[in-house]
């Protein structure tokens, strides 16, 4: 892959846990690559699969869905629902050459700023290895 390629990652993060962690990572000045675009959702349970599909088709090289640890969900069980949705997309998208690795689900608790930073950095590196999403160069939305 080209050395020049800089992936763009879209992260749907839950308001309660991961967003807090992301904020912590930011305010703690943890080293983060500038490839991340954060979209705050109230809960991962509200991340519609079509948001993820839309993101990938609109130029995101990877999509991160991140919420509370099991049992932590502010809305009781939204994260479990999210897991099934991501599982579904992990089955559908690879059939069209969209690697499974491009859609990630993680649990990151409010105090895990370092975990969030590391997760994102690893994800970016992984996607950098993987190369750009095909949709980037296509005139399809």
């Amino acid at each position: 892959m080209s050395q020049e390629f800089e992936p763009t990652i879209l992260a749907f993060v839950c308001n309660w846990c991961t967003y807090t962690a992301a904020d912590l990572a930011g305010t703690s000045r943890m080293v983060q690559q500038p490839n991340l675009r954060l979209v705050r959702m109230m809960c991962t349970g509200m991340v519609d699969p079509k948001y993820i599909v839309k993101s990938l088709l609109s130029g995101a090289d990877g999509v991160l869905v991140s919420g509370c640890h099991p049992g932590d969900c502010h809305y009781i069980n939204g994260n479990y629902k999210a897991r099934r949705r991501v599982k579904l997309l992990n089955e559908i998208l690879p059939q069209f050459g969209i690697e499974k690795e491009r859609v990630k689900l993680t649990w990151v608790g409010a105090s895990e700023g370092n975990e969030f930073a590391a997760t994102v950095n690893n994800f970016i590196n992984e996607i950098r290895e993987l190369g750009p999403m095909e949709a980037r160069s296509m005139a399809v939305v």
Binding site: L24, P34, M42, S58, A60, G71, D72, K81
Partner: protein, 1151 residues
Amino acid sequence: MRKQYGALVVGAGIGGIRAALDLAVTGHKVALIDRRPSHGGILAQLDHQFPTDHCGMCRMLPLMSRDSSSQFCLRKGLFHDNIDIYLSTEVGEMEGEPGKYLVSLKRKSTLIDPTKCVSCGLCSEVCPVRVPSEFNAGLTERAAVYLPVPYAIPNHYVIDLDNCQRCWKCHEACPTGAIDFKFEERKDFHILVADRDPELAEFMRGELEEQNFPLHFAASGQEAVDALASDESFGLLMIGMNLNDMDAERLLTRSRELRPDLAVVVMADKGSEGAASDLVMQGAREYLVKPFKGKRFVAWLDKLYMRILSDTTEELEVGAVVLAGGFDCYSPAMDPEGGNDIWAYDHPGVLTAVEFERLMSGTGPTGGMLVRPGDGRPVKRIAWIQCVGSRDAQKNADFCSGICCMFSIKEALLAKRLTGGEVETSIFYMDMRASGKGYQRYRMNAEKEKGVRFVRSRPHTIMPMDDGHTLRLDYLSDAGELLSEEFDMVVLAAGARPPKETDRFALTMGVDLNQWGFVDTQPYSPEKTSKVGVFAAGAFGEPRDISESVIQAGAAAQAASRIIKAYDVLAGIETEPEPEYPDVSREPARTLVALCASCPTLEQAVDIETVSRRMGDVHSVCRVVPVGGACTPQGWKDIEEAALEFKPNRVLIGACMPYAYIPRLKELGRTIGLNPALMDVVDIYTASFNTACGIGDADCKEKAEKEVYSNLSTAVARLQGADPSGPAVTVDVARSALVVGGGLAGMTAAMAIADQGYGVCLVETEEALGGTAMRLHTQLDGSDPRKFMEELIAQVEKHPNIKVFTDSRVVLSRGSAGRFRSAIASPRGVFQLEHGVSVLATGGHEAKVYESGLCVHKTVMTHLALEEQLATGQLDAGAIKSVAMIQCWRNEGEERTFCSKVCCPEMLKNVLNLKQRNPDIDIYVFYRDIMTQGFLETYYTQARQAGAIFIRYDDETAPKVTFGEDHQPVIAGFDPILNRRIEIRPDILSLSSGIEPNDVEELQEVFDVAVDEDGFYQEADFKWRPVDFLKQGVFACGIGLAPRRMDETISSAKAAAQRALRILNAETIARETVVATVRHSLCSLCQACIAACPYGARVLDMDQEKIVVDEILCQGCGSCAAVCPNSATVLTGFHDAPMMSVIDAALEEPA
């Protein structure tokens, strides 16, 4: 003018937060203070809490009127319209009476202007000081200028003046000039020194030359008084104790008369410290012992000067006071030898429980890696030692901290989880006190499923091995062998202690402390202190775990709200009505973007002009205005003016720390007449701090600009889709309550609600009120439960607001929070009832187990029956030679899945009672674990001292009961200490049979609530919403919820009442901003959303053929929207179309 509050809550830990929130949502103004610079108490340090091993603290936030409080992680911060939080603040003085306490708060300045600090951290980087970090329990170090909690909001640095070296480097480093050491004001700080000694004057002149303080010396008292009477402004008076004409006390008095606010310091001579400290009691700020040493004196004076100038006081008038000081954790460092002799506390492998907790945390010293913090060595074997500092009569701790057992199990499980089960975990304990709801299961799971080893023994010492790495524990096995094991890490389950300086605090507040130094509380009212109108919440009155603390906080809030209501506090103060905002949903979006460009960091990282220009091109942006300091009054005014000029219908502010702006957006909304939901603040600073590439690098600048631009344009897109309009759905609250169950819990809840002026229907299935508590005749604390219950029943029966239905059942209950319609079937017919809330207090009963000769042999009885027979004189203790008791007694093979919590105290009560009546009685108690949490422990000690013999048993050695002649029980047991079988032939066999919840199958259906696997009510969240059901407006308390003793039952009932009052106190309940709605024209009625809703907020209206959302129950989680295939269900603010635009905007600028 004093600030007026309904209540003052002292301590912003979990108990204080809960009490404050409970009061705030009920409509009372609350001042929440904490002496620490951060909120959250010990929970700020704990990422995981048993028994879920997760957090979920945010679930405590209000569910109704959510817009009035912050909606983000509660460990991060808290905002509420009705709560003012004062940090680094202590109570200075308090006087007055219930309903009108005059409180003076001492607010310690952090010396950093929060409106200027952007949390860039440069100050901390240059600070040369390193002291142990409180947040990481001393496992890491921090500078003297530091962030108290890394994720708190607002997240400003604070200066720890006590440890400051006065190098001023931070001041130089601060890019925004936020640090204020009051350099300029020194020359106006006149110091008057009243001292006879001319050498002192010379010394001070010499040493303080650089400080520029104007010094005035008075060699006599009169001279000093004259100076004070003059017009000269003084900042400080220093009184020597050597004045000829006037003693120091007199001068102090005169100074207090002439200049009450002037700070006074006493310069004591060696040997007169006692007199000096008396002067401090009389109002001097502190004393300093002569002779002074140059450097140290200057530093001291300089810091004192900064304190005097920076610290402030706040005068409040409050109706009631809630004390929620929590507890301090015992540390071996409190021991004379620093805990090194016995616990080897200085060894890198020895940690306290809190330290271990920090070690496991992502924000901890190792970022959550399980290695030894001191030397980084790997950890393969960990031991926990229980009861370190608890149950220790030698350390004035003849009490059980009640939390450590569960704490240790949790930590063992966390360690297992972190290492994939690899680490070996052993817990050394005496009694495993898992008596809370679900705790026994938690323990069993840890032992049986997760492989945590439980060892019943107490290692007395930790011995570091010569290799310098491992630690040896010697302990005695049951068989009497001395065993040795080596561990890489030993965690001390250090118990609870009253917070530091509680004695002084108690003096200020005028409350009594108990023998262990905790706040003394009253029987049957564990929230009441010795002073009327001052209440104890959380763990301040007794060590408690989260769930119990939260309940206790609720009880304290209830008591406080009762005072507030009774004295009509704040009656005259009008709350501002919720403003009406124009509906802009039909107008095209016009967004005003304000960019805060005050901080040099941003300027260095991005070209603000470029960003502004490009933002101007974003669709719907009508104007981009750079402002200098959005957080400053001037900057905010600029934004207001721009908004008034350009009349936008969306406002976006790019600044730092967006959370901090949430309350201010509401103000802005009022000023410019725009709904705050159409405004947002975006963090544009974090991108600029990114150190991944160097400042000044063009490529880096471009990346940062892209990131800032993307953040802003995403927010613009989101704002475009924001739609706060819509019909104002409100529920008119039926302001009365239905309480089911006329036992202690039900009656207490009914009284609490009725006392505040709301009607209560109390429904009891039995023919008389009273319930299980009526079976008690004595209490361990010597109080008379019978009398208490009889009085309570009488009060309930004659209360004008309470209508009692006995011999009755609730057969129907429909509706939702604020308005239920129910039907009560009574012998007099069926009553219809409209009410706003329901409280289920259906209680429980003594489990009936027909074994071991119960109900067959008259020599066998339950503990309750024994108590009764002793109380009524049916049984003559003098005629009995011996009694045996069996705890945790159940049918054979029956799983012991939960602890009934009452049987151990009940047993102790009988033991002490018997022993008191007849000291010669032999008493044998067979037990598994004695559950005497908190101060009950002392009765256990007493029972042992009185000579009762406690014989431990487990599954294999459970005592077997047979019967000899004359019904005499023959108990064959086993003593593990002597390793011998024992046989006891007592006159009486008393059995603890435990508590079972009453059968509520019918009520479950009627009220649409759930029970857990043991048949107790399933609360919404065990820790954070312990008396709520998931279904709003329905609450539970008492034994129906979990086994409880009387005091705990009362607390839970009061807590439930307080939750209920929140609804009853409101005339209407308004809809929320973020709530789901249904677009019926698109809806196919597949009901997937109904299944997805975790709150039961959706139902299918069969008649109208549409899905109806109960907007009170809906919490806006969006599960329904995600499951709806064609977006027929939408969440306000998160419509699909705007979400698509948000995604587009976010991706518009590839990285």
